[in-house]
Amino acid sequence: MPETTHVDYSTKIPNNVGLMDDQRVLKALEQWHPGYIDWWNTMGPDGFQTSDVYLRTAVSIDPKGWAKFDYVKMPEYRWGILLAPRMEGRQVNFGAHKGEAAWQEVPGEYRAMLRRLIVVQGDTEPASVEQQRFLGKTAPSLYDMRNLFQVNVEEGRHLWAMVYLLQKHFGRDGREEAGELLNRRSGDADKPRMLGAFNEETPDWLSFFMFTFFTDRDGKMQLESLAQSGFDPLSRTCRFMLTEEAHHMFVGETGVSRTAEATCAAMKAAGIEDPYDINAVRKLGVIDLPTMQKKANLHFSLSLDLFGSEVSTNAANYYNSGVKGRFQETRIEDDHVLTSDTYPVSKLVSGQIKMVDEPALTAINMRLRDDYVADCNKGVERWNKAIEKTGINFRFKLPHVAFHRHIGEFQNVKASPDGQVLSEAEWAKKRDAWLPSKADGDFIQSLMQPCWERGKFSSWIAPPKVGVDNKGGDFEYVKIHQG
């Protein structure tokens, strides 16, 4: 069966890439499948593998018709290989190969480069499932639990997507890398995941929301740039993944917003106007807004590290080679070759944070990060609008890009959230005012009590405005059969 917009369920692995006629790849995927299921059972959501979860499954890649909702036991979710439809006459749209026909096969000279990009992207997908595997037990509602699992199964599917590319296009090395993706473990001392942020714990639901807002948004930016790739199968895969990624960010943005909403409503009801009266606010069983700001500071800074060095040879090579573009590449008005352009980069120049013009090619990471920060700010603004409506005088603000960094220009300096360079001693004194302290963590943990009754929500989070698939807030999104 040739490539179609409809998903072929005749093989064990749903797909729209004609797997039936590609016995080599079908066989490789079938061999990989048991390892994946084993991974899912041991590293996927803990305690809910036999529960029926109201999940959406893709039946078609048509933008309007791909989401179909039904109860599914997660291990039986139809993970599959889904690519966005091929665009006739698509070209390489940037770099040295600009104007050539997009590649349907991997060009030999970029094989290592592409494989590395796909492996790094692929590694983040199972990592977040591992990070989030214990959260089900403290879900503040069935609605939120269902959203968590939806995110998890889709991260699982994104892993499939990357594994398909590895097995289809990268030969034996690709198969080995596909195997390794199941062997690494988030936070494991011996086999850690490849990127730092994916080895951090997700200890509570607020962390989960912040993670889906900030870190999955990095994922979105990376997918957006890979969707521009001159390697057409990668582009098509990423384009389809982006449709799912949007839901993850929705979960994050509304999760944080609903948490703040519950806080503001509780404060109003108790007659507390000062958002910094933390003890009084916490007694209401909600998370005070300054602590939420600290969480945002943490997750934003960790996510910035995922963009790599501001000035990067690798990023320049990826761009020039046509394998990884910029955010919304084709809508940018320039020559898309960039060999004679510059781009302003924030750098540390003799102890001062300054903007320095760098060759645009080497500043690709910086540009993507700028686009990311702008995208984050839009979401933060929506949070602030929601708070404003409640009448509480508080605004969330993203910290300076130099704050709490471990990679890039600012890794060796301490900076405050407003971008002042500090001494080690000043930083140590202020750290707990800017980043979650142990006590903050303990407090949030104390609120993390399961709330699994239909239609009920934990005190610290407000119900959603609308439910999933036009169902109400009291719909039984997860039928729990603990096993």
């Binding site: 290592a112 390794e180 011996d190 086999k191 850690p192 040879t313 090579n317 060759p359 690709i364």
Partner: protein, 552 residues
């Protein structure tokens, strides 16, 4: 590159390395300060190195041998979290003159050879603990150790990405050590050298690229165990006390550098330097204990350090001085007395170190790209160890009798036992055995004359010098030789001299130097690497190199 490069340093001045001592194990930790490059225009990111980093490494390796007889294993590791060492800094290479690149690589090789020398000859074993990526020169550094441990964490890797990334070679011993030291199969080596991201974990062991691949949680323990195991094979004394490498005495002027026992005088008009070595003024100490007491002032050691510094200074800072004239002055009998002392005490760790230090310093002379000539004149002391310098030279001239009005004793060369194996060249033969490759009987004849002062005519007859001239011919003959030398192409001379100096068998060391010269230094000049559109020039810009496909 007008700045004078100084090879003298000491641990309190290190910017890039740290030394930690724990009984018989020392840690040599590479933690490069990216803002402290030797020149402007590049940052030493990701533990990449330049000559300045290597000068400190060389100093550390030397001090470990002399100041720390108790250290039996040296563990080479990185002070950075996710990277072991990214190799030679590319922007530094791209911005360097060809001559600087060549001399930098040569010095790098010499330092790595000296690590292997410590392992092989003085019981100080080197091992390498690789966490993060060891790329290019970083892996070459690891290759110079006896044992490589690689963390099996899914990220740590070893690689030689020079060809795919830069269109040059891992030329400081990388290819040769992969095939000849680690004996990696050639097709696997070929694959390895074209995989930019390198090889990790068990495959790296299987391909013989590393010795062990160890999970992170067991890594520290495995490093400790290996260090102890290596230490147990060492014959270094447990209770000896090291000697302090006190700063050498040196006075630098525009056209002269004066040490206590070496004087360099430069004649810029003729582009010649005269290096005059002064023999010992005191007889050797009465006992080994007294030698230890003298420490860095013990004449053979003091002179070796000074000569070593002089050679490095001249190589890097005086590239246009193309001819070096070696002279000596002093009492040959005293020089021979020191030779006898060292030979008699060669089982003492310090005496052994000094002999190996002389061996390495003489090897530095062998691979120096200058025309070398020895003038053996009245009052000179080319005896034993110092006679090796005559044999290291491309030509040697000896005066018959005396100059008019000069009452110093006539020139003589006296051989000692040390001329017959104590100071092998990189081909693993003594200079005399190399000199007489086709006539081993001449080596035997020379040996029979050990200890006897040999006059000019005898030396010429025995082939120990090129020519013997009397005072009537001397000035003209020497002048004509020197003028003729100056008239030739500097490149042609370097090539010819290096070809002629190393007769006899190939060793790993001769291959490393030879291939650096033949291949890397050729590639370094070619447009595919060094041209405006070459890989070295375009590295980091994101723009691909433009290659000329013609095979030469």
């Amino acid at each position: 590159m007008a700045k004078r490069i100084d090879f003298q340093t000491e641990p309190s001045r290190y910017r890039h390395w740290k030394l930690k001592f724990d009984g018989d194990v020392a840690e040599l930790i590479m933690d490069v300060d990216e803002t402290a490059g030797l020149f402007d225009g590049y940052q030493l990111k990701l533990n990449s190195y330049d000559l300045g980093v290597d000068i400190e490494l060389n100093d550390a390796v030397q001090r470990l041998r002399f100041e720390h007889p108790e250290v039996k294993t040296v563990v080479l590791k990185s002070g950075k979290d996710r990277v072991f060492c990214a190799g030679a800094n590319i922007r530094m290479l791209a911005g360097s003159t060809h001559a600087h690149k060549v001399n930098f690589c040569k010095f790098t090789n010499e330092t790595r050879n000296s690590m292997e020398d410590a392992s092989a000859n003085s019981g100080q074993k080197y091992m390498c603990a690789v966490r993060g990526s060891a790329a290019g020169g970083g892996y070459e550094l690891a290759l110079a150790t006896d044992h490589i441990l690689l963390a099996d964490d899914g990220n740590s890797s070893v690689s030689l990405p020079e060809l795919p990334l830069l269109a040059v070679l891992p030329g400081t011993g990388g290819l040769t050590r992969v095939t000849d030291k680690r004996k990696v199969r050639r097709d696997l080596a070929d694959a390895f050298c074209t995989v930019e991201e390198g090889v990790r974990g068990t495959r790296a062991v299987k391909w013989r690229l590393v010795d062990q691949s160890v999970p992170n949680s067991k890594f520290e323990q495995a490093v400790k165990d290996t260090a102890k195991k290596l230490a147990s094979t060492s014959d270094r004394p447990a209770d000896a006390k090291g000697i302090a490498f006190t700063p050498i005495e040196r006075n630098i002027e525009d056209d002269a550098v004066t040490y206590s026992g070496v004087k360099i005088e430069i004649d810029r008009a003729t582009r010649r330097a005269t290096l005059t070595i002064t023999g010992p003024s005191e007889p050797p100490p009465a006992s080994v204990a007294d030698m230890h007491k003298q420490g860095a002032q013990f004449w053979p050691l003091r002179l070796a350090r000074e000569l070593d510094d002089a050679i490095l200074h001249m190589r890097l800072n005086e590239a246009e001085v193309g001819v070096w004239i070696f002279k000596t002055q002093g009492e040959a009998a005293q020089v021979l007395a020191y030779d006898k002392f060292l030979e008699a005490n060669k089982d003492n760790w310090l005496a052994r170190e000094i002999l190996h230090f002389w061996k390495r310093t003489l090897k530095r002379i062998d691979v120096t790209s200058r025309s070398l000539v020895a003038l053996v004149e009245p009052g000179s002391c080319f005896a034993g160890t110092l006679a090796e310098i005559v044999f290291a030279c491309d030509r040697s001239f000896m005066l018959v009798g005396s100059f008019q009005g000069d009452n110093r004793p006539a020139a003589a060369i006296t051989l000692s036992n040390l001329n017959f194996g104590a100071y092998p060249m990189s081909n693993d033969l003594s200079r005399l055995a190399t000199r007489f490759l086709g006539e081993p009987e001449s080596v035997e004849a020379a040996k029979a004359q050990t200890g006897k002062p040999l006059d000019a005519e005898t030396c010429e007859e025995m082939g120990l010098v090129t020519s013997a001239f009397d005072h009537i011919d001397w000035d003209d003959e020497v002048r004509i030789f020197l003028e003729e030398r100056s008239s030739y192409s500097a490149d042609g001379l370097t090539g010819m001299e290096q070809n002629l100096r190393f007769a006899g068998p190939e060793t790993m060391e001769t291959k490393i130097f030879g291939r650096l010269t033949a291949w890397q230094n050729w590639i370094f000049q070619r447009p595919n690497a060094a041209g405006a559109e070459g890989a070295l020039k375009r590295y980091g810009s994101g723009v691909k190199a433009n290659f000329n496909p013609e095979r030469v």
